[in-house]
C-alpha cells in the first residue's frame, strides 16, 4: 500500500465511467438526487393524468386499465423512487460531513445500494413496455395481487420492491455503521445534528421493518409463480396475513419518508431564525420515539378489515400516542423561531410551510385513529388528502427546503431567490388547491382508486378544483427545474463562499463543493452547532455576538469549486470500483428473469453469475488499489 496516494481516487474525475465506478458518498448522493428528480417528474406526470381523468364525471381520458396502472405506479414511484431516494441523497451527502467523517463506513456498499435502486426502478418501469405496469395499488392487497397469474404486472411489483428492499437494507446498515463508528473526535451522539440523528433513526426503521414486507412479497411471488397457497382463501390461506406483513413495514415506512425531512427542517429553522434549535434533546428523542412507537401501530390501516374490537381499540389508542412526540417537535420548532430574527429566504419558507402543512396532515391522521370515524374515512379521498398533506406538504416541502438550503454546498452557487419565491407560492397554493378539496370529497363519500365517478354525487366541482391545483403544482416545479438549470448549468447563479447562510454545522466549514476527502483535517468537535460557536459567543443577555474572524467564515470567496484545495499528502480514499454496479446489475437481471418464469431461468442463470462475479470481485479487491 502506497503512502503517497492522493485523494484523487480514479484515473480521471470526469466522464460516465467515473460516475459508474464512484464510491464517493457525495457523488452517490448526487446520483440519488438526480434520479429522484427524474422519477418525481414521471410520478408527477402520472398524477396529472390521474387528475385529468378525474376532472369531471365519467370522463374517458384514461381507460380503467390505464388508470389503475397509473395510480399504482404513481404511489409506488413517489414513495420508493422519489422520497426514499431523495432522503438517501441527503443522507449520503451530508451524514458523513455532518459528523465530521471523510466517507460512509462502506463506500462500495453505498455504490451498490444506489445501483441496485436505479436498476430496480428501471426494472419496474420496463413493465410499461412489457405487458403493462403493476395495477394492484401500491399496497398490493392479496388475493387481488395473486389473482391474475397469466399477467406479469404484479410480478414486476413483487420483484421490484424486493430488490429495492435489499438496496435499502444495505444502505441502512451502512448508515448505522457510519453514525456509530465514523464520528469525528468530540462528536458525541448528542452533538450530532438533528438531520444526522433522523437519518440514523430512519436506518433503524428500515432495517427492522423491511424484512417483514420482504417475506410477504416472497410469499406473494411463490403464490403467483409456484402455486403456493399463502393467500388462497379456498385452501385456508388468510388474506389478512399480507396486510399485517405489509403494514408492519408500511407504517414505519411513512416515518421513513418524513423523518429526514423533519431533520432538514430542524437544521433550517435555527439557521434562518439565528437561534439554536429549541429543546435539541427533546427533538432528537421525540424523533426516536416516533420511530419506536411507529412499530406498534400498523393495524390502523386495517380498521375495517375485521380484526375484532379489542385489537382495533388497542391500535387506535396506540396510534394517537404518536401525536405526542410529533407535537413535541412542532412545539419546539415554533419555540425555535420564537424570539428569533427570521430571514424569509426560500429554504426558510419551505420549512415553515412544512410545519404548517404537516400539522394539517397530522391532525387528519389523528382523526383516522378514531376508529368509528375511520370506518367512514378509510379508503376515501379523505385518506388521500391526509397522506398528501404529510407526504407532499410535509416530506416533499422539507426536501425542497433542503435543496434550496444545501444547493450552494453542492455547486458553489445559490439558487435564485425570486424564482424560489415564485416556486414557493405557486407550490403552496397549488398544493392546497389540489389536496384541500379532497378532504371534502372523501367525507362526501368518494372512494379512492376509482377511475370514474357518476354525476349527481356532488363530487364534480371539488374534483375540478383539485385538478387545477395539480397543474399549478406542475408550473411551480417547472419554475424550480428552471431555477436549477439556470443556476447550475447556465452558470447564472450567484457564487457564494463556504458559508452563505451563516450556518451552524460542519458542512459550512468546508469548501463548496467539498473536496473528495471532505475535511483537510479531521475536525475536533467541541459542542453542538460547533461552527456557530466558533463564530459567535453569547453576551450576558444571552444574545449572540460575533467573534473576531475565524477561518471558513461567510465571506471567504477564495476556493470555490477547487476540489484540490489544501489537500495534504497521504489522505487516501477508497479506489473506485465497478464491482458494486456489476453485482447490482446481476441482481436486477435475476429479478427480470424471475418475472418471466419459466423461461426466465436463462436470465436468472446469467444474472446470478454476474452477481457472484461482482460480489466476489468486490469482497476480494483491496479497498485502496495501488496505482
Amino acid at each position: 500500500m502506497t503512502a503517497q496516494v492522493q485523494t484523487i481516487r480514479s484515473p480521471g474525475d470526469r466522464g460516465v465511467w467515473a460516475w459508474i465506478t464512484t464510491v464517493d458518498h457525495k457523488r452517490i448522493g448526487l446520483l440519488y438526487a438526480v434520479s429522484a428528480a427524474a422519477f418525481f417528474f414521471i410520478g408527477g406526470l402520472e398524477a396529472l393524468l390521474v387528475r385529468t381523468q378525474l376532472l369531471g364525471p365519467n370522463l374517458e381520458v384514461l381507460s380503467a386499465e390505464a388508470y389503475n396502472q397509473l395510480f399504482t405506479m404513481h404511489g409506488l414511484t413517489m414513495v420508493f423512487l422519489v422520497v426514499m431516494p431523495i432522503a438517501a441523497a441527503f443522507t449520503n451527502y451530508f451524514l458523513p460531513i455532518l459528523i465530521g467523517a471523510r466517507d460512509v463506513a462502506f463506500p462500495r456498499l453505498n455504490a451498490f445500494s444506489y445501483w441496485l435502486f436505479i436498476f430496480s426502478g428501471l426494472l419496474i418501469y420496463s413493465s410499461f413496455f412489457l405487458g403493462g405496469a403493476p395495477d394492484g395499488a401500491w399496497v398490493g392487497y392479496a388475493p387481488l395481487s395473486t389473482q391474475l397469474t397469466e399477467v406479469v404486472r404484479m410480478d414486476f411489483w413483487t420483484i421490484g420492491l424486493s430488490t429495492l428492499g435489499i438496496s435499502s437494507i444495505a444502505a441502512s446498515a451502512n448508515f448505522i455503521a457510519t453514525a456509530f463508528t465514523m464520528r469525528a473526535p468530540g462528536m458525541t451522539m448528542l452533538r450530532m445534528p438533528v438531520f444526522a440523528w433522523m437519518s440514523l433513526v430512519v436506518a433503524f426503521l428500515l432495517i427492522f421493518s423491511l424484512p417483514s414486507v420482504a417475506i410477504g412479497l416472497f410469499q406473494l411471488f411463490l403464490d403467483r409463480n409456484f402455486g403456493a397457497l399463502f393467500y388462497a382463501a379456498d385452501a385456508g390461506g388468510d388474506p389478512l396475513l399480507w396486510q399485517h406483513l405489509f403494514w408492519i413495514f408500511g407504517h414505519p415506512e411513512v416515518y421513513v419518508l418524513v423523518l429526514p425531512a423533519m431533520g432538514i427542517v430542524s437544521e433550517v429553522l435555527p439557521t434562518f431564525a439565528r437561534k439554536p434549535l429549541f429543546g435539541y434533546p427533546f427533538v432528537v428523542f421525540s424523533g426516536a420515539a416516533i420511530g419506536f412507537i411507529g412499530f406498534g401501530v400498523w393495524s390502523h390501516h386495517m380498521f375495517t378489515s375485521g380484526m375484532g374490537p379489542i385489537a382495533e381499540a388497542g391500535f387506535g389508542v396506540a396510534t394517537m400516542i404518536i401525536a405526542v412526540p410529533t407535537g413535541v417537535k412542532i412545539f419546539n420548532w415554533i419555540g425555535t423561531i420564537w424570539g428569533g430574527k427570521i430571514k424569509f429566504n426560500t429554504p426558510m419558507l419551505f420549512s415553515l410551510a412544512f410545519v404548517a402543512m404537516f400539522v394539517i396532515g397530522g391532525l387528519s391522521g389523528v382523526t383516522h385513529a378514531v376508529v368509528p370515524s375511520d370506518t367512514q374515512q378509510h379508503d376515501t379521498y379523505y385518506v388521500v388528502a391526509h397522506f398528501h398533506y404529510v407526504l407532499f406538504g410535509g416530506a416533499v416541502f422539507g426536501y425542497v427546503s433542503g435543496v434550496y438550503y444545501w444547493f450552494p454546498k453542492w455547486t458553489g452557487r445559490k439558487l435564485n431567490e425570486t424564482l424560489g419565491k415564485i416556486h414557493f407560492w405557486l407550490a403552496l397554493i397549488g398544493f392546497n388547491l389540489t389536496f384541500g378539496p379532497m378532504h371534502v370529497l372523501g367525507l362526501n363519500g368518494m372512494p379512492r382508486r376509482t377511475y370514474r365517478y357518476p354525476e349527481g354525487l356532488g363530487w364534480a366541482n371539488w374534483n375540478a378544483v383539485a385538478t387545477i391545483g395539480a397543474y399549478t403544482i406542475l408550473v411551480a416545479f417547472l419554475v424550480f427545474a428552471w431555477n436549477i438549470v439556470r443556476t447550475h448549468y447556465l452558470n447564472k447563479g450567484e457564487r457564494v463562499g463556504n458559508d452563505p447562510w451563516d450556518g451552524r454545522t460542519l458542512e459550512w466549514t468546508i469548501p463548496s463543493p467539498p473536496p473528495v476527502h471532505n475535511f483537510d483535517e479531521t475536525p475536533i468537535v467541541h459542542s453542538l452547532d460547533d461552527f456557530w460557536h466558533q463564530k459567535y459567543a453569547e453576551n450576558e443577555e444571552g444574545r449572540a455576538v460575533r467573534m473576531p474572524a475565524v477561518t471558513g467564515a461567510a465571506d471567504d470567496q477564495g476556493d470555490i469549486g477547487r476540489a484540490d484545495h489544501g489537500t495534504p499528502e497521504g489522505i487516501h480514499m477508497p479506489s473506485p470500483s465497478y464491482y458494486p454496479a456489476l453485482a447490482s446489475l446481476g441482481i436486477a437481471i435475476t429479478g427480470g428473469g424471475l418475472v418471466y418464469l419459466p423461461w426466465g431461468f436463462a436470465a436468472i442463470g446469467v444474472g446470478v453469475v454476474v452477481m457472484l462475479w461482482g460480489l466476489f470481485g468486490w469482497s476480494l479487491e483491496p479497498v485502496t488499489k495501488e496505482h
Partner: protein, 388 residues
C-alpha cells in the same frame, strides 16, 4: 340536491370538449356544491349518526389544535421577522423543560379526551344487534357486483330470496349483514347508514344497517365498494331502498315468486332458448313453466366461509331483473335499449376481463361478449323485460 343521481346514465364524453367546458365554471360551482347523497356527514340512521357525533367532537378538537398551532406559528413569524436596520442578534434560548412538559401534557389530555368516545363508539358500532325483529342478510362480494341472500325470507319450497346490487330493507329495523367474498377483498359501504366493512374471502365479517326513513322509489341511498378490487372497482355500486314495513313485505312476496318461463313455440320462446343455452352458464333464474312447475335454472354455487354457507352463482340472479332500476352493479339505468347495448358488448359499458374467466376454478371477471346477433339480442331483451 334533487337531481336524479342514481340514474346517471353512462355516456361517452367527448374528451377535449368536456374538459374545456368544465374548467371555467368550477370555482364558482365548488363554492355552492352540497354534500351529495353518498356523504358521511348527513347520516340517515342511528349508527351513522353515532359515528358522525364522534367525528364532530374530534373535528372540533382538531380545529382547536389547528387554530392554536397556526396562530402561534403565524404570530411568531410576524412578530419575529427580521426588520431592516435592526442589528441586534436574538437571545440564544436553548429550550425550556416547562414548555416541553406542558406540550406533552396538553397533547396527552386532548388525546385522552378523544380516546374515550373512540373506544365507546367502536364497541357500539361493532355490537351484534339482538331481538326478534333483526333481519339477517348474507352478502357475497363479487368482482364487480353484490349478491344478497335474504336468509330469513324463504319461499314455500325453501328457496331463500336472492337479489343483486339493490338492497331492500325495512325502516327502523336492524339489518345484520353477514358478508364474505367470492374472489378478492371488497368493502361494503353505504355512508349514510354506517361506516364500511371489508368483505374478505375465507372470512366472515358483519355490519349492521339501520335506516330512519323510507326512501322515495326513484331515490335509493347510494353506496359503493370501498376496497380496491381490480379493474371495475369504481363501478361496483350499491343502492339501498328503504321501505315501510308493509312496503317491505310486499317487495319480499313479489321477489319470492318465480317468474314465467315462456311456453314452447311462443314469441318469447326464442329468447328463452338462447338464454337457456348461454346465459344460464352464469346466471340463475327461478321460473315457473306452463305446467306450473317451478325450476331454478343456472349454476348452483356455494361459498363456505367460517362454516357459514353462502348461496351464490357466477352472475346476478335475474329472476326479477326488471324490478330493479339499474344494472351493472348500480352503474347503468335499466331499460331495454341499454340492456341490448350491454348484451351486445358488455365491455363497452363497463371494464371487465371476461376473456380471463375460468368458471371451472370459480373465477369470473365479467360478462363475456356472447356474440349474439342483434335479432337474438332483441329476443333475449324482450324475454328479460317480462321478468319483473
Amino acid at each position: 340536491m334533487g337531481e336524479a343521481i342514481v340514474r346517471a346514465r353512462y355516456q361517452t364524453t367527448p374528451r377535449l370538449g368536456r374538459l374545456l367546458r368544465v374548467v371555467p365554471v368550477i370555482l364558482l360551482l365548488a363554492a355552492c356544491s352540497g354534500s351529495g347523497p353518498q356523504t358521511a356527514l348527513e347520516p340517515e340512521g342511528p349508527i351513522a349518526r353515532d359515528i358522525d357525533g364522534v367525528w364532530d367532537l374530534v373535528l372540533m378538537l382538531a380545529t382547536f389544535v389547528f387554530v392554536l398551532v397556526m396562530g402561534l406559528l403565524v404570530w411568531a413569524m410576524w412578530r419575529y421577522r427580521e426588520r431592516p436596520g435592526d442589528e441586534t442578534e436574538p437571545k440564544q434560548l436553548h429550550g425550556s423543560s416547562v414548555i416541553e412538559v406542558g406540550g406533552v401534557v396538553f397533547s396527552v389530555v386532548l388525546l385522552a379526551f378523544i380516546s374515550v368516545p373512540t373506544v365507546r363508539g367502536l364497541l357500539d358500532i361493532r355490537a351484534v344487534p339482538e331481538g326478534d325483529d333483526v333481519l339477517h342478510i348474507q352478502v357475497t362480494g363479487h368482482q364487480w357486483w353484490w349478491e344478497f341472500e335474504y336468509v330469513d325470507e324463504t319461499a314455500a319450497d325453501g328457496r331463500t330470496l336472492i337479489t343483486a346490487n339493490e338492497l331492500h330493507i325495512p325502516e327502523d329495523v336492524p339489518v345484520y349483514l353477514t358478508m364474505t367474498s367470492a374472489d378478492v377483498i371488497h368493502s361494503f359501504w353505504v355512508p349514510v347508514l354506517n361506516g364500511k366493512r371489508d368483505v374478505v374471502p375465507g372470512r366472515v365479517t358483519n355490519l349492521t344497517l339501520i335506516a330512519d326513513n323510507p326512501t322515495p322509489p326513484d331515490e335509493p341511498i347510494p353506496g359503493q365498494c370501498a376496497e380496491f378490487c381490480g379493474l371495475a372497482h369504481a363501478d361496483m355500486r350499491i343502492k339501498v331502498h328503504v321501505h315501510d314495513a308493509a312496503g317491505y313485505a310486499a317487495w319480499v312476496d313479489e321477489q319470492l315468486l318465480p317468474s314465467e318461463q315462456p311456453a314452447p313455440e311462443t314469441a318469447l320462446d326464442a329468447g328463452w332458448q338462447t338464454f337457456n343455452t348461454l346465459c344460464t352458464a352464469c346466471h340463475q333464474v327461478t321460473l315457473e313453466d306452463v305446467e306450473g312447475e317451478v325450476t331454478t335454472h343456472g349454476p348452483e354455487r356455494y361459498i363456505t366461509s367460517d362454516d357459514i354457507e353462502f348461496r351464490s352463482s357466477f352472475g346476478p340472479n335475474l329472476t326479477h331483473l326488471f324490478s330493479r332500476d339499474t344494472f351493472g352493479s348500480g352503474t347503468f339505468t335499466l331499460d331495454a335499449d341499454h340492456l341490448a347495448e350491454w348484451i351486445d358488448n358488455p365491455e363497452s359499458l363497463k371494464p371487465m376481463w371476461a376473456d380471463r374467466n375460468d368458471l371451472a376454478n370459480g373465477r369470473v371477471l365479467g360478462m363475456p361478449d356472447l356474440g349474439l346477433s342483434s335479432a337474438q339480442i332483441e329476443e333475449v331483451v324482450d324475454l328479460l323485460e317480462t321478468w319483473r
